[in-house]
Symmetry: C2
Subunit: 351 residues, 2 copies
Amino acid sequence: MANGAAAVRGGGSGGRRARATLRDVAEAAGTSRSTASRALGGHGYVADHIKERVEAAAERLGYVPDVSARTLKGRSSGLVGVLVSDLRNQFYAELAAGVEHALSAAGYQMVLVDDHADEERAAAGARAFLAMRADGVLLTPVARGATETLVGHGVPVTELDRRSGVRGCDAVAIDNERGARLAVEHLIGLGHRDVGIVVDEVQWDTGRNRLKGYRSALRDAGLPVPRRHVLDLSQGEGDQAAQLAAFLDGNPALTAVFAANNVMAELVWQELKRRGSAVPEGCSVVSFDDLAWMKMVEPGLSAVRQPVFDLGGRAAELLLDRVGRDGAGRAESVVLQPELVLRGSTAPPKN
Amino acid sequence: MANGAAAVRGGGSGGRRARATLRDVAEAAGTSRSTASRALGGHGYVADHIKERVEAAAERLGYVPDVSARTLKGRSSGLVGVLVSDLRNQFYAELAAGVEHALSAAGYQMVLVDDHADEERAAAGARAFLAMRADGVLLTPVARGATETLVGHGVPVTELDRRSGVRGCDAVAIDNERGARLAVEHLIGLGHRDVGIVVDEVQWDTGRNRLKGYRSALRDAGLPVPRRHVLDLSQGEGDQAAQLAAFLDGNPALTAVFAANNVMAELVWQELKRRGSAVPEGCSVVSFDDLAWMKMVEPGLSAVRQPVFDLGGRAAELLLDRVGRDGAGRAESVVLQPELVLRGSTAPPKN
DNA sequence: CTGTTAGCGCGTTCAT
DNA sequence: ATGAACGCGCTAACAG
């Protein structure tokens, strides 16, 4: 008796049915495996009636080609790794949404890892992407490590929102310095001379450039830029609200505050509300990054709007371009422009 | 001359270096492939000094095991598919974050697909998960299709937040009926008799049960439940704000509105603000789902808080349990309890 | 303790 | 137009 088609293969007791394989389909259609492969893949010559028979058999058996086998054969895995710093932060969530949208439109799958801005976890994510033979990787870098590993192994990488400085990878980011300038110049234009800034990271170019834009806007206007007007919470082990409170108490002359990202904006907003400061009468506020809540509070929060969803989409497209070229070509760098949205939280200083 | 180890393999011109394979490692360490495999995998017997030599070689060559090969061999892919309806909605983003957290703690990778609540896209996602041999799938069902496909192929499935009704899959959800009751009973307790509800879907059990909870709370209090107090936006092709405006105009007796989810809460909040209605004096408002902005607006929005992050985490754990048992065991169903958070948006009716 | 062998599912030669 | 044979990288048998 020949090795019957009906032989139970991989008969685990888990209740999980063995998946139909190309061989099953071929046998059901009465052809060889290679013919079945051509019929389903659409390559090479296959007689029409055979093709139909194979397709019918595949449908009937619920055949789904095995990507791992195909990947092993040297073809693409169809997987793109994405590494973000904090999925609970709406900024990153929307970034991921933009990425996913572009990837899935191109037939790719997104493997999403949240590294919580931790270098160790980012490195683990990079290794995982390597192991699964991801066709490319998108990431908001925490440090150089992950990008270096990936680029070193020849995996196309595009950095989002900030750059690690590693050569050989594409990047898509916002013009952070200009965005900060827009915000601060607006305040200066209203007559503010004492403007504070609240930042929670200056280790990456994102925060650093926002700080830079803040400083140069003031300097260009001939205004002083005292260090004590800068609240840097990046070391912040302690209570951020308390540090902010101390900052405000120590700078009674401030008539406006620039929050360098949405998290800081939330912090500032809550603290001003807590202490009963009138906005904008007592203190004007501008945020970098415009979230939905900023138009719902009273007064609405003026903000530097970033095209976050598009940022993710553009980055994905840039990456897939490179993947399509098998990694060849010079590293590209795209800078998107932010836009200032004026609402009620900014007004001329009172005195 | 034997087939040299130094032969160039897969030499594409893309500038991408060939990855080190287990064979390369074995040759560099002067052993066979299986010994190298055992040394790195930690199974079976390997002499200590050999093991060290293999590990050193692997490190030196930057060896990363190929998951597709391992998967093909019948082992787990380490991939879990996750299908959500709208990644831009903070609810789903936080759900995904909770899932990711639990998965990555267990060494799994999350393949995230946003189906935009579209049945077609969900089906495509399910097929992709099948093709990549995902070890399990988590999803917020849009219809029965995707779950049926997956379960039919023996893939462990856990549904989140709502259920499709397909047998054989686990589920983790919120007690939506009870959450809605909490909200509406609170309003009734304050003295409201004319309470409206705004819903944007009743096709899933989530919205249906919230509506049910709303109705039964009123009924149990001996209050009437007129149809015109229910605004169902689920067919909503038109302008939702306009429909809401018409609803409010047509129900001048309403003293309170229950928004069945965070999107509806935003809509209601904006519309009340637009028309200058005082909250809570003119109209009390409660939301199902508590987002960050709800505590930042003035007055703060009373809301039914759901443990969204935990919901995702619990679902992931439930799924991984089943994956660990190779799919065996009865389908489990977990129901998490919501909690009413009182803020300033609810007060006794004016008259 | 180690090496040899076989095969996971697929695509791609090469002969028919 | 079709089928037989090989190998992608890895691991689980089995010898030695």
